[in-house]
């Protein structure tokens, strides 16, 4: 094999690296290695002069391989690849040694750090010799988008893509869109009526010629890759002919199950029929028949009062589920959250004491179109004289969720204001600490404090019943005192949790979840919208708990990402992918189940596994699992990795 001409560049990163690693010494030592024709250190390799230095050396000294010892390749590998390409060298003939995150930032021991940096650079030099030029691939894009979830963030994303003139399939599991926000009464900090700001958007979705809305539907299968997904959707029957139903609600009034089934939209505070309109502003405003409670569907016995009542003859009990298949270029995931079930914290008596309710139930209660027509009432119908709000139920708690649910402090403050506004009861807020960040939030908190709400710093420990009244027990950490406060009503502000089917959705779409269970973004700071799967984006609370402005912003961001793909008509696919040597493959199928991206399939004729390189992300899991060594990942093959290890240990 002919000798390579390798250039090694050691970055000081100001004092980030050079403050700990002796960069000059590393450079000097590396310069002594065979095939290293130039070794230089420089203050900022990523700067223009730094990149120029590499380009000049490639041109003048004829370098055919480059090693940059600097920060994480996640930061600047693309930068230096471009530099190589600028000088006519394939970008994959570069290897980076991470001597910042892996060395200078993790120790203060200068001698050891210099030693480790040198080892890593030696490994990089040995590895880069085996690098091969790789060409990036481009594939055409289907210019449609699928939005999964019709809450506020999904609605926002769908509208934005549609407004740009592109087709959107909006898929919603429930029978209506609007999500949790549709249940709210007022929104903080401006106390805008939630319905007033949301329903116009819902109506826009229903009317947009570019949006095809599928309610009562779920995604059951996703195939393909960025730009070219095929999504299979199952639409459940609602036993109502959409075209005929006028949304009059006559079927609901006639249904013999009337006022017998807890109404989900009212969080169980009211009762509905088996045939019903989900809520007055529902989009689509069509009746639905609940197949779990309809007597005809469950027991095959009913007077069919609804059919008789329906003037439009819209009821059709012969409907079956429908399977749809959509070709889309990108997918926006906006599946939202589940509310923490307060019964899991039995100390608060939720489900035991009728006047202990959760935040969403309170929202419904204060909503003018809710079960109490906007009156805050106790179970016996009277107004409460004192109300407690307990923060962080299920959040910031080692036993349930360690994270802060972000919206509860502000919604608790809002609850306090609404109580004051509706019935002038005394309000006690039990908080760990107040988190009222955000535009206008602190001001709103101050306003509510001035309204005479009692803020008690201490997590509510228990809700008990004493002499017919509820008592909240807590340690007031400001007074340093144990307190028992008698109240009429307790509102538990519960955590926002990943949806119960999050794992199923993650598996169907081939995306990852973070430790807290929410869907994982590709970079928590710099790429919070993209998943680790190209072409699948996140919006709203399915990524992490967030309030309405943040959900809307992320919905728009996801739409922008999706439009960026559509606009260019082509997507670049990372050329680092796995390939199967069919001569070596024994068809054992170990790899197939390992692939998160479902890029591997068994060829039924040859009985060999095959990789769809466009779907493959080059993660290497299959190559590690492949027992016969038939799978190779380009740019990370065994020879390269072993050479790197040898270099490091040399």
């Amino acid at each position: 094999m002919s000798d390579h001409k390798i250039g090694v560049y050691v970055c000081h990163c100001g004092s980030n690296i050079n403050g700990v690693v002796n960069c000059a010494k590393v450079t000097e030592e590396i310069g002594k290695l065979g095939e290293v024709v130039v070794a230089k250190d420089y203050k900022y390799m990523c700067s223009d002069p730094g990149q120029e230095m590499i380009k000049n050396d490639i041109r003048e000294k004829g370098l055919d391989r480059v090693v940059v010892a600097a920060c994480s390749p996640r930061m600047h590998e693309p930068t230096f690849r471009r530099a190589l390409e600028g000088a006519g060298l394939n970008g994959y003939l570069l290897e980076m040694a991470n001597i910042r995150e892996h060395v200078s930032w993790v120790t203060k021991d200068k001698e050891e750090a210099t030693k480790k940096a040198l080892s890593l650079v030696k490994g990089a030099v040995k590895r880069v010799k085996l690098h091969e030029p790789i060409e990036e691939r481009e594939v055409p894009v289907t210019n449609t988008t699928l939005v999964l979830g019709g809450g506020i963030s999904g609605i926002q994303a769908a509208l934005q893509v549609a407004e740009a003139g592109h087709k959107v399939y909006l898929i919603e599991q429930k029978q209506y869109i609007g999500g949790n926000m549709a249940k709210f009464d007022k929104t903080f900090p401006t106390l805008d009526c939630a319905a007033c700001i949301l329903t116009p958007k819902m109506v826009d979705v229903g009317q947009s010629p570019n949006i095809e809305l599928y309610t009562s539907s779920e995604v059951i299968k996703v195939d393909g890759y960025v730009g070219n997904f095929t999504v299979t959707v199952r639409e459940k029957p609602r036993y109502i002919n959409h075209d005929k139903c006028t949304g009059c609600g006559d079927c609901a009034s006639a249904c013999i199950m009337k006022n017998r089934i807890p109404h989900e939209f009212d969080e169980g505070l009211s009762k509905r029929s088996a045939a019903y309109i989900p809520f007055p502003q529902a989009v689509p405003l069509k009746a639905v028949i609940d197949d779990e409670n309809c007597l005809l569907l469950t027991r095959k016995k009913c007077t069919l009062a609804c059919v008789k009542a329906c003037g439009a003859k819209a009821i059709n009990f012969n409907q079956h589920e429908t399977i749809h298949e959509f070709k889309v270029g990108s997918i926006i995931l906006a599946t939202g959250f589940d509310l923490f079930d307060a019964k899991r914290s039995p100390q608060y008596g939720y489900g035991k004491y009728p006047n202990v309710i959760n935040g969403l139930q309170f929202e419904r209660m204060t909503n003018a179109s809710g079960p109490t027509s906007g009156h805050i009432t106790l179970a016996d119908g009277t107004e409460p004289k004192s109300v407690a709000v307990i923060h962080c139920v299920g959040s910031r708690d080692e036993n349930y969720n360690k994270y802060c649910s972000r919206v509860c402090c502000m919604s608790s403050v809002k609850f306090a204001h609404l109580v004051k506004d509706h019935c002038d009861a005394e309000v006690y807020e039990f908080y760990i600490d107040m988190r009222t960040f955000g535009k206008g939030y602190e001001e709103f908190y101050n306003r509510v404090q001035e309204e005479g709400v009692h803020f008690i710093r201490g997590k509510g420990a228990e809700v008990a019943q004493k002499d017919g009244r509820l008592v909240v027990k807590a340690e007031d950490t400001l007074l340093g005192q144990y307190r028992e406060i008698p109240v009429d009503m307790v509102i538990l502000n519960t955590a926002l949790e990943p949806r119960v089917d999050a794992e199923k959705v993650a598996q169907t779409l081939g995306i990852s979840r973070s430790g807290d269970g929410f869907f994982m973004e590709s970079h928590i700071k710099l790429d919070p919208v993209t998943t680790t799967t190209d072409g699948i984006y996140l919006a709203g609370c399915c990524q992490s708990p967030k309030d309405i402005p943040d959900s809307v912003a992320q919905g728009s961001a996801a739409a922008a990402q999706s439009l960026a793909i559509i606009a260019t008509g082509k997507v670049k696919i990372s050329p680092i992918s796995a390939s199967i040597d069919s001569e070596q493959c024994a068809g054992c199928q170990i790899c197939i189940g390992l692939c998160t991206y479902r890029a591997i399939k068994l060829n039924e004729e040859t009985l060999r596994a095959e990789i769809n390189e466009a779907v493959c992300k080059g993660c290497g899991t299959c190559a590690a699992g492949c027992p016969s060594g038939a799978i190779k990942v380009s740019h990370f093959n065994d020879d390269q990795l072993l050479a790197q290890i040898e270099g490091v240990l040399a």
Partner: protein, 321 residues
């Protein structure tokens, strides 16, 4: 008539099965005798060390060397035979990758001596006598070979031209190797004379996507003879093991033990198999992974049953004599 092949057969750290396997070629042994003069075969005929040292360099055409290297004597003879042989062949799993004796590398000489000369229930050794390299006997000082701290494969000690795998190699494999030598129809140096792909490739058992929910040992179940053994929870080394044995174990409903060594593209048989098995364990988190893994008896001895001496990890971890 062409001059007869000068053939040497030697054993080092081995059980003797490889020598028996040569006899197992049945009537073909006569063909071997026809084609070759056996110039050295300690298990069958009487030879002294001097007989080897008297031979000229290159005077042996082919040396079939079985057994691993774990004593100074074995190393010395291996080197002496190498110097006198045109082709040095690592014959059988022990010579090729350390074989069963290579599992001694999971421990060391000291621990092995403690077990053998002190700790076993039937041992009484009050004076704590251990093997020694020198012993002053009445007829003068006696010398014994030194036992090494670790076991080596043949190619870690001398240059090896070809590998004939198996524990022991099957008669068919032996005959293929002999035929290649006799006819001069030789593959490139370093070739393992057997299949190339893994055993799964020619295994006719029905394979599907794999998930192991429970590890089983062969005596615990009667395996379904049609289905992949791995899918039934038996640790079958087939996926990482070189084809060429004729499926003797799997045809008898027993999982492959891996004696044909790593298949062509596999550099570390045990690591590869461990990776593959870890990949198909049906677990959802670390805890369930630990629980399932705990039901696997002797993972190291299973995945490295024949190749520990050649494992990458071992070489980086420890030096030794």
């Amino acid at each position: 008539m062409a001059p007869k092949l000068q053939l040497a057969i030697y054993w080092a750290a081995a059980c003797g099965g490889c020598d028996v396997a040569i006899l197992d070629t049945d009537e073909k042994i006569l063909d071997i005798a026809e084609a070759a003069d056996i110039v050295l075969w300690p298990i069958a005929m009487d030879f002294k060390y001097e007989d080897i040292y008297k031979m000229e360099p290159g005077s042996i055409d082919v040396c079939l060397f079985n057994g691993a290297i774990r004593t100074s004597e074995q190393e010395e003879i291996a080197k002496a035979l190498r110097a006198r042989s045109k082709f040095m062949i690592a014959f059988g799993a022990c010579a090729a990758w350390g074989g069963i004796p290579g599992l001694a590398n999971l421990t060391n000489r000291e621990e092995i001596f403690n077990t053998v000369y002190q700790e076993t229930a039937t041992t009484i050794n009050e004076e704590d006598i251990r093997p020694d390299t020198n012993y002053p006997g009445p007829e003068g000082e006696l010398h014994l070979p030194r036992i090494y701290d670790r076991v080596w494969s043949l190619d870690q000690v001398v240059n090896v031209d070809y590998y004939v795998p198996g524990c022991p190699p099957t008669p068919e494999t032996i005959w293929t190797a002999i035929l290649a030598i006799v006819t001069g129809n030789l593959p490139p140096k370093g070739t393992t004379i057997a299949g190339i792909k893994s055993l799964c490739d020619t295994c006719e058992r029905e394979k599907t996507e794999k998930k192991i929910t429970q590890f089983k040992r062969p005596f615990e179940i009667i395996a379904d003879p049609k289905k992949c053994l791995l899918e039934q929870g038996l640790i079958c080394c087939g996926p990482v093991t070189r084809d060429g044995c004729g499926h003797r174990c799997t045809n008898n409903n027993m999982p492959c033990r891996g004696c044909y060594g790593p298949s062509e593209k596999v550099s570390d048989q045990g690591a590869k198999l461990l990776n593959a098995i870890a990949s198909i364990m049906d677990v959802k988190d670390e805890k369930s992974a630990q629980e399932l893994a705990a039901t696997w008896e002797d993972p190291a001895g299973t995945v490295y049953r024949f190749s520990l001496a050649k494992s990458l990890i071992y070489d980086y971890k420890k030096g030794g004599e």
